[in-house]
């Protein structure tokens, strides 16, 4: 199962193993928290992380776009790691981005890392987007029908002295928080109080991104 069904407010989404969410009826693909140019953002501060995160993230994005051929792509905020990050995009990364944007609508939702995106990136910049019963915004509010990012959910599962930790979708059927898509994005445990605030109870599910398939695991079973 390289994809799994995730319901949000009676809309059926497909969670892709890459961490993207696909709305079949709308041919809409959503990715969150790309954090492009995070490597160079650290480099500015003297921590010389490899400068390959943008190309790694974009090539994974290109692959999932090629697989689903969406009519529209929503990047759910924090697409760039800092306010100047887009200026540091290399020529070839810009070209790769343009190639993905061709023949489809592209919406940049602004996030706390990239609150003011310029217009020359291609696509449209918006604070949030509503399509049918679904609202797409960066920071989750807990409202029903909301798909958000920002928190970078991850789940840890342990049995008999072994444990592993992976990114995941968090969802309770009414709302969902998407995993971060960027190559250099860490995560926040879904047992963090931030998630309890959004979902109200620990009774939500983690759709954990495994090696070859997604796994639906009760959040209460995770750490």
């Amino acid at each position: 199962m390289r994809a799994a069904k995730v319901m949000v407010a009676d809309v059926r989404f497909v969670a892709d193993i890459s961490g993207a969410l696909f709305w079949q009826e709308q041919r809409l693909l959503v990715v969150s928290d790309l954090h492009l140019e995070k490597g160079s953002s650290f480099a500015k501060r003297g921590v010389l992380l490899p400068p390959y995160d943008t190309v790694a993230t974009l090539s994974r994005l290109a692959a999932v776009i090629a697989r689903h051929d969406p009519r529209m792509v929503i990047a759910l905020g924090d697409s760039f790691h800092d306010r100047e990050a887009h200026e540091r995009l290399s020529e070839s990364d810009r070209d790769a981005l343009s190639a993905m944007q061709a023949r489809r609508d592209w919406i940049w939702i602004s996030g706390n890392h990239d609150p003011a995106l310029p217009s020359d990136l291609g696509g449209t910049v918006a604070n949030e987007v509503a399509i049918g019963p679904i609202a797409f915004r960066h920071e989750p509010t807990g409202a029903a029908g909301e798909i958000a990012g920002h928190l970078h959910p991850k789940a840890r599962v342990a049995t008999r002295g072994r444990s592993m930790e992976r990114r995941c979708f968090a969802s309770d059927g009414e709302r969902a928080v998407m995993p971060a898509f960027g190559a250099f994005t860490g995560g926040l445990s879904i047992r963090d109080p931030a998630f309890a605030k959004i979902f109200g109870t620990p009774g939500f599910m983690a759709h954990v991104l495994g090696d070859n398939r997604l796994h639906a695991i009760a959040a209460s079973r995770c750490y």
Binding site: S40, F42, A43, K44, G46, V47, L48, L49, P50, P51, Y52, D53, V55, A56, S90, R156, V157, A158, T159, R160, G161, R162, S163, M164, E165, R166, A183, F184, T185, G186, V208, G210, D211, N212, R213, H215, A216, I217, A218, R221, C222, Y223
Partner: protein
């Protein structure tokens, strides 16, 4: 110390080297100088560097300092120097007087203790010598004063030396240096700390060309290579310091416990011999009980506690206990108040304990030299033999103990060969150099080559490291403007800004600690499982535990810690809340096999012992019977061959092989073999490895497959598994990622500590796993990946040993198809389920968690 002297006859010419006041001092104490002490004095007077190899208790430290004390006992004028006052502290000021001797110890406690010990002869002879220590605990004001007005003798650690060398005034501070004394050199050189120290030495040889070195070491396998460490290597030729060997230590008396109990098949606790061990403690004044892991120490201590009807003062000592707690134990021990101390390698090195009359080593000795050094802790008097008892915890360990005793009787050594210097350490050093005086690449390269571990460093590796330090070493040249070090017009490298220097100072050193969590004892939730009542706050700190261990637990799991069985309650920030559990056994075993694998040398001796039936007579009857049964039932592996047994059991098919190459190499072999078996459709399910054997089980009938030519063991075990299969596994190996993490931290790619904010050790700025994944895909030959691979080959994956084994057994595989488990296979089979299978967690683990949910849903 003893009043009896072993060397009553002293050659008069060397005795003359000792000034009158020293001879009088020795005489007043009823001592006379030992031969090796005078030998070192003679080497010093000939202006030679020397390596002293001596057992514990031989007066090694005094020997190391004697030349310095003698030289400094002459008035300064006589030494051809002016007065010791100097005001200017600028660069390139050649001072007179100043720092004379530097002493480097692996432990700061040892440095402090030695300083105290030196004060006695200095005070009693009234010598005009100032001795000071400098460790991480030294107040800033004193450190600053030390740089301006250095003492005659400074005692410090490799990390502090690196810091001093990275300062502007290093040339001022060190140009007067005459001698460096390196204590416990055998222990220092086996790690990256040794690499760092060797680079520091190279720097000192340039700053103080007159400096000579004295190395103090326990007995090692290759003294010549250790002696190279003390000398600048020149023009690709190997240069060694002179070697002085102290003789005369009485041979130790080492026995194996001849237990009256039934010898266990497996396990590492030696619980069967508890009563006998307790008796040993009772019969002796003070006994040190060494075990191989922290959790073993915990368990054994707990067991003694339960049976201690005589109220013997028995204490526990290991590296994860609270520091104050450890000091308390050490002080009680020094004061002779303890009858027994259960300890780990935390007491392998260190301060002299005085009167310990017995060392008990529980479990596998792992290496002959290591065991010998432990036994040396028993008695610090040269003329009396140390006494030790080995307690094998299972039948295989009986074999290991037997050959270790033989090796000690032959005085055979199996210390590892001198390391090849690591590139991540070099990166740290290069940055340190740039923090001091600017350097030219050509000059620094030439300097680094003088250090023995780096003597064969290629220029291209060096240049890659400099490039890494400057801009990250990436093929994509986008970080020029963020460079940490920059070249001036003359081509000299210097730090780009003061922040880089600050960051270097905060992050110096090569000891990468496991992420640790504090363990706090709280009241349990009560109300049974499932209750979500509040956990009581407050409570006693028990110590620290590795984060990765806690990550494998779920609330309610029990484990042994701080000498008791505790229940894991919750993780609250960086604290692990545990409550007292009443269970008799812990649910989650925490035996991780110890840090060191069985030495290649002992492994070979064990294979020889097995192969030579005449030697079996020296083994306990239970073990002899076990081996005879194996011979009858299957076969006993020969010295060079690999025995493979296959048999069915409980609906699964098992394959057990006996490489005797240590747990780490076996784990790697297990990972690679399961991949191959998967491809061969043998449907493997899991494996478990111990120091001697590897067992793999699965659904496919391996015996049948071999019989029908569907599987060929020669091909399965072919050395080419270290090619593509290894590469594919490394991509996701958690062990590899752990190795890379340490390289990323040591090399300074990711700082451990930041200026202005002392983050807890747990929070590393950035996940090194993410860096590993991206770097591996986009620049597989990056210098840090190369460094990590070199580490893994010798460390956690033990690839070198695995490779040697695979070549050794080619054409020598013996396969026995059995109907059921063989006697030799029982120990490793018993470990299935008892030990956590240290495999790579993946989809199966997640699927298992998901299935639980399905079951729950289906009622």
């Amino acid at each position: 110390m003893s009043t009896l002297d072993l060397f009553s006859v002293t050659p008069s010419e060397t005795a003359d080297l000792l000034p009158r006041q020293f001879r009088d001092w020795f005489a007043a104490r009823g001592w006379s100088p030992r031969e090796h002490q005078l030998a070192l004095l003679a080497k010093a007077s000939e202006d030679r560097s020397a390596l002293l190899i001596a057992p514990t208790g031989a007066g090694k430290t005094l020997a190391g300092f004697l030349p310095t004390l003698v030289e400094l006992s002459h008035p300064a004028a006589q030494r051809g120097e002016g007065t010791k006052s100097l005001i200017s502290t600028g660069r390139n000021v050649k001072r007179t007087g100043g720092l004379h001797t530097l002493y480097i110890s692996p432990l700061k406690a040892l440095a402090v203790d030695i300083a105290r010990n030196l004060e006695t002869p200095i005070a009693e002879m009234g010598l005009p010598i100032k001795v000071e220590t400098r460790t991480g605990d030294t107040p800033v004001s004193r450190r600053q004063r030390q740089r301006r007005y250095p003492p005659d003798i400074l005692l410090t650690t490799p990390e502090q030396l690196a810091l001093l060398l990275s300062s502007d005034d290093a040339p001022f501070l060190f140009s007067s240096l005459k001698r460096i004394v390196l204590d416990e050199l055998h222990a220092l050189v086996t790690s990256k700390r040794g690499d760092l120290l060797s680079l520091g030495l190279a720097r000192l040889w340039r700053l103080a060309p007159e400096m000579r070195a004295i190395g103090l070491s326990a007995t090692v396998a290759e003294p010549e290579s250790l002696a190279r460490f003390l000398m600048p290597q020149r023009d690709g030729k190997e240069v060694s310091a002179d070697i002085v060997v102290a003789g005369g230590a009485a041979a130790p008396i080492v026995e194996m416990l001849d237990t009256q109990e039934r010898l266990p098949w497996a396990g590492h606790t030696a619980r069967h011999a508890l009563g006998e061990m307790y008796e040993l403690i009772k019969r002796n004044k003070t006994t040190l009980i060494f075990v191989n892991t922290r959790s073993q120490a915990e368990m054994l201590f707990q067991d003694f506690w339960r049976m201690n009807d005589d109220g013997l003062a028995i204490a526990l000592h290991h590296g994860s206990l609270d520091v104050a707690q450890r000091r308390k134990v050490e002080d009680a021990m020094a004061a002779g108040k303890l009858r027994g101390v259960v300890c780990t390698s935390s007491l392998d090195l260190g301060i002299d304990w005085g009167d310990i009359d017995l060392v008990v080593n529980v479990g596998a000795p792992k290496g002959a030299s290591r065991l010998m050094q432990r036994i040396g802790r028993a008695n610090h008097r040269l003329d009396e033999p140390s006494r030790a008892v080995l307690i094998p915890a299972n039948r295989f360990e009986v074999l290991e103990c037997r050959v270790a005793i033989d090796a000690i009787a032959e005085n055979a050594q199996d210390t590892p060969p001198l390391r090849t210097g690591a590139l991540d350490v070099l990166a740290q050093h290069v940055l340190g150099c740039a923090c001091g005086e600017p350097f030219l690449s050509d000059e620094l390269y030439a300097e680094v080559l003088t250090s023995a571990p780096y003597a064969s460093l290629t220029r291209s590796d060096f240049d890659d490291v400099v490039d890494f330090v400057a801009t990250g070493g990436y093929a994509l040249k986008t970080y020029e403007r963020f460079a940490r070090i920059k070249q001036d017009k003359q081509g000299r490298w210097r730090v780009a800004n003061p922040k880089v220097r600050q960051s270097y100072r905060l992050n110096v050193g090569t000891i990468v600690e496991e992420a640790m969590l504090k363990v706090k004892l709280v009241r349990g939730r009560g109300g049974g499982a499932g209750s979500t009542g509040m956990i009581g706050r407050g409570g006693r700190m028990l110590g620290e535990i590795e984060e990765y261990f806690i990550e494998g637990l779920v609330a309610g799991d029990t484990f042994v810690f701080g000498g008791e069985i505790v229940r894991y309650e919750a993780l609250v920030e960086d604290q692990v809340y545990v409550s007292r559990a009443n269970d008799k056994d812990a649910k989650v075993p925490s035996y991780m096999g110890g840090k060191f694998p069985l030495s290649t040398y002992l492994a070979e001796r064990v294979r020889k012992l097995l192969d030579d039936r005449r030697q079996w007579n020296a083994l306990p009857e239970q073990v002899r019977d076990w081996l005879s049964l194996q011979r009858h039932f299957s076969s006993v592996p020969g010295v060079r061959e690999l025995l493979i047994e296959t048999f069915p059991r409980g609906g699964k098919h098992y394959m057990v092989c006996y490489p005797f190459e240590g747990r780490l190499a076996h784990q790697t072999l297990g990972m690679l073999l399961t991949r191959r078996l998967e491809r061969a459709r043998a449907r493997p399910l899991g494996f478990v490895a111990n120091e001697y054997a590897l067992a793999i089980w699965g659904l496919g009938d391996v015996s049948f497959m071999v019989r029908h030519g569907k599987l060929d063991f020669a091909a399965l075990f072919a050395p080419d598994m270290l090619g593509d299969d290894l590469e594919a596994w490394l991509a996701e190996s958690a062990l590899m990622k752990r190795t890379f993490r340490s390289c990323a931290l040591i090399s300074g790619l990711i700082p451990r500590r930041f200026t202005g904010e002392e983050k807890s050790r747990r929070q590393v700025l950035f996940s090194t796993d993410l860096v590993y994944d991206v770097l591996r895909k986009h620049q597989a030959d990056h210098v840090l990946l190369r460094a990590a691979r070199a580490d893994a080959a010798a460390g956690l994956l033990d690839l070198k040993r695995l490779g040697d084994m695979l070549s050794r057994i080619q054409g020598r595989i013996t396969h026995r198809e059995l109907e059921h488990v063989s006697p030799l296979a029982v120990p490793v089979m018993l470990e299935i389920g008892r030990e956590s299978v240290y495999g790579e967690a993946g989809d199966e683990l997640l699927a298992e968690a998901a299935d639980e949910l399905v079951k729950e849903a289906m009622g």
